[in-house]
């Protein structure tokens, strides 16, 4: 008999709030987290709205102000999510043997803006910026010397561009020395991390894992997504599965789950939110070569992903009471996901409730997969499915039962959380109401 894995702690900071309950309330009430971008000027960007984390106070998540110099936002949100999740799971530093707690963390590989990059390059070489910043003879514009102390980047700053730094800061802050893996993908890595933690505990390598993903909003991604036609240009939040959807809106945040072996959780009297019973992560070998768009056959890989997660859990499609969809709001992605759901669930596709949260938070890239899993767990706990905001009319040929307007009260035994990545990396996680 393989080991059972349960969720015993949740933590999230997102555009919807800086605690799990705030987030959950906003999801149920469909309170919007998308707004004009405040953290950097945007008037020449193609898209000026996003879901930003608001009123973020690093100190309240155990982050020392001195450390902020070497922490980009991705790292800060990771620390915040983990701090909340470990607290929620009632785990203090003294309660665990450091080498017994594992970490699986997902981020995107690029974590700096183009300007930061340039500054670091020039500063390192000690190049006088004169040649670069003003025309010859232009005395009004004095040259800028990059050795100017006011301009200096912190000597450790280059470290923050490495994709494993979020994980390392988590390990240091909470003294976690156990097994670990830092995953990177444009948007699936948060869910991949949860899948990895689940499989590691079930396999028996470790009893306790903290897993999740984080992302800090960055101009690089806005430009890149916009030029790949992934962003909505109507300057309004995304509309998952709606007929008029035209792209996603970016968001930022961090979400973490504490996963634990059942016996271990019971042994220490931990609160149990739900059980995780299956997962699948795979790729769409026939993906688009741009690595940014779904191919026309992407639904095949998506349905394969859902099916193998169900198989991993030993379930049939009929057992599933709720689908937390990826629903990123781009024309291709949602239509592929809808096809995949219809393919797997067949006749019952029209009756299983489907919801997507990205209309409220924006697409938080790697953090989204983890946050969607977190929301799914809360849906199971409370028997409540949050509505999909901005969805008014489904494509005419679709049979999906998308929950709109207001939250649906429903006892949920099994739920699936989909994360379908733009670059063809897909993850599905199956959760179950915890019954002794």
């Amino acid at each position: 008999m393989s080991r059972r894995v349960v969720v015993t702690g949740l933590g999230a900071v997102t555009p919807l709030g800086n605690s799990v309950e705030e987030n959950w309330k906003a999801l149920i009430e469909a309170r919007n987290g998308i707004a004009p971008i405040c953290s950097f000027p945007t008037h020449t960007l193609p898209v000026c709205i996003a879901g930003e984390v608001k009123d973020f106070k690093p100190r309240s998540f155990g982050i020392h102000p001195k450390s902020l110099k070497v922490m980009n936002k991705t790292i800060q949100y990771a620390l915040a999510g983990v701090h909340l999740a470990l607290g929620d799971a009632r785990l203090n530093k003294d309660d665990y043997e450091p080498s017994d707690v594992g970490i699986a963390w997902g981020v995107d590989g690029i974590q700096y803006s183009a300007e930061e990059f340039l500054l670091a390059c020039y500063e390192a070489v000690g190049k006088d910026m004169k040649n670069y910043v003003c025309a010859e003879g232009d005395t009004a514009h004095a040259p800028i010397k990059t050795r100017d102390p006011g301009l200096a980047v912190h000597p450790l700053w280059p470290l923050s561009v490495l994709a494993n730094m979020a994980l390392c800061h988590i390990a240091i802050q909470h003294n976690l020395q156990g097994p670990n893996i830092a995953l990177s993908s444009i948007d699936a890595s948060g869910a991949q991390a949860i899948s990895e933690a689940f499989k590691a505990i079930r396999r028996g390598g470790c009893d306790l894992y903290v897993a999740g993903g984080s992302y800090g909003l960055n101009t690089m991604h806005i430009l890149s997504f916009a030029s790949s036609d992934l962003l909505s240009t109507k300057n309004r939040a995304c509309m998952p599965f709606d007929r008029e959807r035209d792209g996603c809106i970016l968001g930022e945040g961090g979400a973490a789950l504490v996963l634990e072996d059942l016996g271990h959780a019971q042994g220490r009297g931990a609160p149990i939110y739900a059980e995780i019973v299956g997962s699948s992560f795979l790729c769409d070998g026939a993906g688009d070569r741009s690595c940014a768009q779904h191919s026309g056959t992407a639904w095949k890989a998506m349905s394969m992903c859902i099916s193998s997660a169900l198989q991993d859990a030993g379930l049939l499609p009929g057992d599933i009471d709720f689908i937390h969809a990826s629903g990123s709001g781009t024309a291709a992605a949602d239509s592929m996901e809808a096809s995949a759901i219809e393919h797997v669930f067949g006749q019952t596709a029209g009756s299983v409730p489907v919801a997507a949260g990205k209309a409220l938070t924006g697409h938080m890239l790697p953090a989204s997969g983890a946050f969607d899993a977190l929301a799914t767990v809360l849906s199971i706990r409370d028997g409540c499915i949050p509505p999909t905001k901005n969805h008014t009319e489904t494509d005419t040929d679709r049979r999906l039962n998308i929950i709109t307007k207001k939250a649906l009260k429903k006892e949920i035994k099994y739920a699936i959380s989909n994360t379908f990545g733009f670059s063809g990396e897909h993850v599905a996680l199956v959760f179950k109401k915890f019954i002794h």
Partner: protein, 449 residues
């Protein structure tokens, strides 16, 4: 609570655990563009380190690196995606081809949904020329001034907006995961996929992940390993600022000197190392050539500091112990340790201490060598190339040397196989990788029996 852990930990070597073997290898390194060539030069004790040619390094404090030479960049990828892909990804595709050929795998005949990819990589090394094409001087000036005076930008991002180029190549196509994605597309692989980006331990973690994926029954075959190319102004200066790089610019081939008293940092390198892992019964069924068995894996964190590992090896030793336990081996079984051995003062000292923590008195009897003395530090691809070398060590019964070992360091007093290769029967190898930030991974390799 701790007591509870003790009950059910590490008893997973129960009946029927799947065995994982290596059936194909491929590599692009500073010592050669194939496994054969790299191995040949490695056992000859050659150095792949030379002055930097990828950018003008004349004003940089570090002017040397281990670059891949004479590589056919255009020949290895389809034309339509060629401009989008960085050096590392191209090395990767080349090495995957070599490894699949070596494994005699005909993908047309395989169920590619039971074939997966787990790669370790980093973002593509950016060179400043890529960015200069995209920015205009006013923008840079404005940014720098705003940064100094903490005012907001007056005309922000105008040229970013106009730069379709930036949007197209960055970051969607330059991020760490792109190598795995492109491999999945070019080779039509549909199974489990993941990219681990943990700096210097990336590909060790990828191999560990691949091994577990096979053991879990999620795939029969995994393409795993790593690729990297970080030789650009940004990373060279970044690592230099951390005081991690050797500045021995006048003697490039002498610059990387792991465990030697006069070591002064590592040398940034580039390359790719790919292994085909296979579930044992699957490999036997198709009569595959089994190179070695991947018997154990372990990972850990130092949870200490971002840039330094603890001098007493605390935390670093956990992953070695875990890998041994995972393989069901004792310290007596290990015949050779393929060290991380970066040639930085702290790493080599800390690794030596950690090896002593784990192996006690036996530490002095085990030959230990660092391939980085010749290859440089290939960051995300380092671990996978060192595993390939370890597999060949088992097959050829030759331990590659640690070159440039001249002045013994009293704090590093183990047997580092100095300067000349050693003929010796080697059946069990522990390969170590430790990353910036304190992520560690060890892989245990065994002669297949």
């Amino acid at each position: 609570m701790t007591a509870h852990f003790a009950d059910n930990r590490w008893n997973r070597k129960e009946n029927g655990q799947k065995r994982v073997v290596i059936t194909g290898i491929g590599a692009v390194t500073p010592l050669g563009n194939t496994v054969k060539e790299s191995w040949h030069n490695l056992v000859a004790g050659e150095s792949g380190i030379a002055p930097i040619t990828l950018f003008d390094a004349s004003q940089y404090p570090v002017k040397i690196a281990a670059e891949v030479k004479n590589f056919d960049f255009d020949g290895c990828v389809p034309e339509d995606i060629n401009p989008y892909l960085g050096r590392g990804t191209k090395f990767c595709i080349h090495a995957v081809k070599e490894a699949l050929e070596h494994a005699r795998l005909d993908l047309e005949k395989q169920d590619t949904s039971l074939m997966g990819i787990a790669l370790g990589s980093d973002e593509e090394g950016a060179q400043i020329k890529h960015f200069e094409e995209m920015f205009d001087v006013e923008h840079i000036r404005d940014f720098l001034e705003a940064r100094r005076s903490a005012r907001t930008l007056t005309h922000p991002y105008p040229h970013l907006l106009n730069s379709k180029l930036l949007g197209q190549i960055w970051p969607i196509r330059r991020s760490a995961h792109i190598a795995a994605n492109i491999v999945s597309i070019l080779f039509n692989i549909k199974g489990p996929i993941s990219t681990s980006a943990s700096a210097c331990a990336s590909s060790a973690q990828a191999v560990g992940k691949a091994m577990r994926t096979i053991q879990d029954g999620d795939a029969d075959i995994m393409i795993t390993g790593g690729c990297d190319s970080m030789i650009g102004e940004f990373h060279v200066s970044g690592f230099n600022r951390l005081r991690a790089l050797s500045r021995n610019n006048d003697n490039p081939e002498k610059a990387s000197r792991p465990f030697d008293l006069k070591r002064d940092g590592f040398i940034l390198g580039e390359g790719a190392g790919i292994l085909v892992l296979e579930e044992l019964s699957h490999a036997k069924k198709r009569n595959a050539n089994i190179i070695a068995e991947l018997a154990g894996y372990g990972s850990s964190s130092n949870a200490y500091r971002l840039t330094a590992s603890p001098e007493d090896g605390q935390g670093v030793d956990i992953c070695m112990k875990t890998a041994l336990r995972d393989a069901g081996c004792t310290i007596e079984d290990v015949d050779y340790i393929n060290a991380h051995g970066t040639s930085t003062y702290l790493n080599d000292k800390s690794e030596t201490a950690a090896i002593k923590n784990v192996f006690q008195d036996r530490a002095y009897e085990i030959p230990i060598s660092s391939n980085k003395s010749m290859l440089g530090h290939l960051i995300a691809s380092a671990a996978s190339i060192e595993l390939i070398i370890s597999a060949l060590t088992i097959n050829e019964n030759v331990i590659p040397p640690t070159i440039n070992y001249e002045f013994p360091d009293p704090e590093c007093d183990l047997d580092y196989v100095p300067n000349v290769p050693r003929k010796s029967q080697v059946d069990t190898i522990l390969s170590n990788s430790f990353a910036f930030g304190g992520q560690n991974a060890s892989v245990l390799l065994k002669r297949f029996q």
